[in-house]
Amino acid sequence: MDIVVCVKRVPATDSKIKVGADGKSIDPAGIEFVLNPYDEFAVEEAIKTRETLGSGSVTVITLGTGDSQKELRTCLAMGADKAVLLDASGLPGGGAGLDACATARIVADHVKGIPHDAVFCGRQAVDGDDSQFPSRLAALLDLPCVTEVAKLELSDGRYRAERDIEGAREVVDCPTPCVISTNKGLNEPRYANLKGIMAAKKKPLETIAVSAAEPATETTGLELPPERSGGKIVDSVSDLVAALKNEAKVL
């Protein structure tokens, strides 16, 4: 089975976010960038599938800039076979103006040219917290899709996928080829060991310059939420209940 995994470079989850000079994007100074945590589940699942079947390939792909080579190498070190960087650095602002619509379109155009029995993505990228890309990609590729998958089994070319919805768990039957977005709980992503890191250096990483796609939205502002001033510390349970009843009026 040939699996394509879409990955993204994002700020680490404990980053302190500051607004940049343009008032529309973050100031990257001092931020550590990592492979999107949800994409780790996608990469792990793809490698596990290849290992279980004893055949097939895992290609990781990202739309980003030269910096993203680091995250692609991380995937290769985990065990992916090859990596593709769709390089947006030639676009205005280094691709900063690409929204979910344009991003999915550009990636879909390239995924079409890579053999795939399945495309795995993370459920959401923890920068924009969009959770749009996987379903968009599926629509553009005319594939079925199961999002936020917490359990996945393959038999006879069909997936049985489980996902949590409000108050219940759905079991979805889905033929391949398809797009799957992965949630926490699906697996335990492996760490790249030294051997993997060394091997990754010799694996193919192809860079393709992309041409612009028309975004359907533009960012007009980025703001930090008002800082909470800290709570009122109450001395007793009865004071707390009184406050909830009389001030907050929630009881």
Binding site: P11, P144, I165, C174, T217, P225, V237
Partner: protein, 326 residues
């Protein structure tokens, strides 16, 4: 005239509050942009759903009721909805940011080659453009985006708008041009959690426990506190630390890699307030923290804090809440 279309999240023929909130938001938006609000629902045995939508403040309800749609299918529902959208000339399309909304709306947006703001907390109409504001970086910032073409789509964060109300909408029965043989990904089974439980993201009150509870069996304190609010009011949540330790199931995890909740009242018991946990609950209306460490970061984010031992405070609080409620 251009319409604001609301796509209903209907499961087993039932419309839940987030959809009604989306109609409320659509009415508010239509007040600025003009146009009327049309609700579209796809499913099977939709009589109750149609009734609820007819009384939600929408001017028109379009229902695609067929056995084909008895169970959710992302590709199938998207196609059925796209067929209906053709006749509705939507300027904006809204849906709640539920599991179904997150799955379905990007698919519809891609087919329309349109912009989508997901998990929106505010909607805009400026000049002749629609747009929305949404939390990004796990709520550490808010991003405003405006559409550069039409239509504009948004999924709306639950508990953020008043549910719409009204009556007497025109109800139109529509059908899809295809049958179940065309569906690809199909839900085969829905395994419900215990039915006496309110879903975490729909609960008015969330009582969440963390490592401060020290052992899985001590979550009884949190469960009893949740139960004190009466049946169907409060849900139990958990920090990642206790989910990773296997004390609680992942579906209860609140935070960046768990669920985002915004209840009226969030009570954090024995939770330190790590940035990734805050990501999942900081937009709650009121936050109460119970922690024995006066310097725990959660106290910076809460509205009311009580410094002390959860093992003493939780039972006392449960009693006091029961007394206040009765």
């Amino acid at each position: 005239m251009s319409n604001i279309v609301v796509i209903a999240d209907a499961r087993e023929g039932k419309i839940k509050k987030p959809t009604l909130e989306a109609v409320g938001a659509a009415k508010e938006l239509a007040g600025k942009s003009g146009g009327s609000v049309v609700a579209v629902v796809v499913g099977h045995q939709l009589d109750a759903a149609k009734q609820d939508l007819a009384n939600s403040g929408a001017s028109k309800v379009v229902a695609v009721d067929a056995e084909t749609f008895a169970q959710y299918s992302g590709d199938g529902f998207a196609r059925a909805i796209l067929e209906q959208l053709e006749g509705l000339s939507p300027a904006a399309i809204l849906m709640p940011h539920t599991a179904m909304g997150r799955d379905l709306m990007p698919r519809i947006a891609a087919k329309l080659d349109a912009g989508l703001v997901s998990d929106a907390t505010a909607l805009h109409f400026e000049g002749d453009r629609f747009g929305a504001t949404k939390p990004v970086y796990a709520g550490k910032a808010y991003k405003k985006s405006m559409a550069t073409r039409s239509p504009f789509l948004a999924t709306l964060r639950p508990n953020n708008w008043e549910a719409g109300s009204g009556e007497g909408a025109e109800v139109v029965d529509a059908s899809a041009s295809f049958g179940s043989d065309q569906l690809k990904a199909i839900v085969k089974e829905v395994v419900s959690a215990a039915s006496d439980r309110v879903p975490l993201q729909e609960a008015k009150v969330v009582v969440a426990g963390g490592r401060g509870l020290q052992a899985p069996e001590n979550f009884k304190l949190v469960e009893d506190l949740a139960a004190a609010f009466g049946p169907g009011v409060a849900a139990v949540g958990a920090s990642r630390a206790v989910v990773d330790a296997g004390w609680r199931p992942h579906r209860e995890q609140v935070g960046q890699t768990g669920k985002v909740v915004a209840p009226t009242l969030y009570i954090a018991v024995g939770i330190s307030g790590a940035i990734q946990h805050l990501a999942g609950m900081r937009t709650s209306r009121f936050i109460v923290a119970v922690n024995k460490d006066a310097n725990a970061p959660i106290f910076k984010e809460c509205d009311y804090g009580i410094v002390g031992d959860a093992f003493e405070i939780c039972p006392a609080l449960a009693e006091a809440i029961k007394a206040a409620a009765s």
